[in-house]
Amino acid sequence: MRYVRLLWLFFKNSLLVEMEYRVNFALNTLLSVLWLGVRLAAVLAFFVHRPTIGGWTLPEALIVLGLFNVFSGIIDAVLRPNMDQIVEHIRKGTMDFILTKPVNSQFLASLRVFVVWNLADVVLGLGVIVYALGRLDFRPSSAQVAVFAALLVAGVVIVYAFWMLLVTLAFWFVRVSNITELFSTFFTAGRFPVTVYPDWVRWLLTFIVPVALLTTFPAASLLGRLTATYALLSLGMAAGLLVASAAFWNYAVRHYASASS
């Protein structure tokens, strides 16, 4: 409960800071709309020539794209700013201030600042999903919605834990900020249903850099296409990665020699 209150406090702080720059707020929302337009164009182009891609029709593929937009909003609003901050803390030696606070250090270091306006991408992405379901004229059953919600939460956990694992490397290699860029390299493939890629890429995007678990899996579950095995795989990966990231963080903190010593 204390952590929920803290989280709300951090969020409110970030919001207050950004409300001082209203023009930026408007401009960034406009950029989010433009971004979505570009992403839509890249999907629509395929459907000018073919009725399906990888076995997915246009509205079905739009659900995947909507999820891609949701996750890129979460990455830009929460993960990227905090992970950059962590690298800065380690570089400048101010990590000590985080470690000495009476709160879980991973929580405090990784969920402290929010770039609130990037959440516009999340809202727009959800809008695309609702629109696509309308086009399909498809009302998912409550069980499908429940699985979808669970996989969405699992996706958030997976992407968070994956970034944490990468950024914790900064305790040893300070110039690690580039490594998180490598995640973006793979993430960009998540905008299309994973079935359009060759087998080995599909495998890579499921088990090594689990991008498919963020977009394709939840979309398939909403459409009632995901088998229970894959749903369990996604939940298992989320739990496993979260535990691994916490363990790695604790290991790193224990071996952290601070900047002054």
Binding site: V23, L31, A41, N178, E181, T185, V201
Partner: protein, 262 residues
């Protein structure tokens, strides 16, 4: 003049050398063309899509990575900061217009990218039968000319948007908006010929295509004769337009800059 250029160029090369690891990683992150290529190949299923054979997608997107890296300019953030924080002032004291410094710095970093990029152009045709480029001497010359003009156009557009920092604090956001449009209308994400005809015709009159798709289509041998001449004419016209715009923005911006008292 040439020794000034040479000094600027050497400084730029030193800079690029210091950041070689970063440059390499930035290049790796530009993988969206590979994703698009992979999806087109799957969608094509071995048959032609519009005027594109499956092998053409390989030539197009691999060649596209090359063209993008050669044309790319990343100065708008530096320029914006120089204007906003007054770092421009010492540059103004030098006996050479700062634009040459930015140009030299960007050009000097280009050779650094070649060892990664040239193998791409060779590998594509080797690995995928039917992929390849039109390498007759005349065509290679046309490619190099349109590529150089594409770089010049891209540079001046970005410089103009950066100069808007004299008047407003959101110049870099404006650049990002421009870049989003660029992604679609330059042909970077999707070959322009595969858009609905209306979009294809519209893109022929906008500047975006002349910073990317034109040299790439020349390299693939898709343009020839009068079409090519016509296209280069439009490209040159856009370059002249943005050079003129630059001169106007620069002289007015400088007056404003000194009026503020920096």
């Amino acid at each position: 003049m040439w020794h000034k250029w040479w000094a600027l160029f050497r400084a730029g090369w030193g800079n690029a050398l210091a950041y070689r690891a970063e440059i390499f990683i930035w290049m790796l992150t530009g993988t969206l063309p590979l994703v698009m290529m992979s999806v087109w190949l799957s969608v094509a299923g071995g048959e032609a899509v519009g005027s594109f054979q499956p092998a053409d997608f390989v030539s197009y997107y691999l060649g596209g990575i090359f063209v993008r890296q050669m044309v790319g300019v990343w100065i708008v953030w530096d320029l914006e900061r120089a204007i906003r924080l007054g770092e421009l002032s010492p540059k103004l004291l030098r006996p050479i217009n700062p634009i040459y410094e930015y140009m030299a710095e960007n050009l000097a970093a280009k050779p650094m990218r070649l060892p990664v990029l040239l193998p791409l152009l060779v590998l594509g045709p080797l690995l995928y039968p039917g992929a390849g480029y039109e390498l007759s001497p005349a065509n290679v010359l046309a490619f190099l000319v349109t590529l150089a003009l594409a770089w010049l156009l891209y540079f001046f557009i970005q410089y103009c948007i950066g100069l808007l920092a004299f008047w407003m604090s959101q110049a870099t956001s404006l650049w990002q908006a421009w870049f989003h449009l660029w992604l679609v209308f330059s042909g970077y994400l999707i070959p322009l010929d595969l858009f609905p005809p209306l979009v294809t015709r519209l893109s022929a009159w906008l500047p975006f295509r002349y910073t990317f798709a034109l040299p790439l289509e020349v390299l693939m041998g898709r343009l020839g004769g009068t079409v090519l001449v016509h296209q280069v004419a439009i490209q040159v016209a856009w370059v002249l337009f943005f050079v003129a715009l630059y001169r106007m923005l620069w002289s007015r911006g400088l007056r404003r800059y000194s009026a503020v008292g920096a």
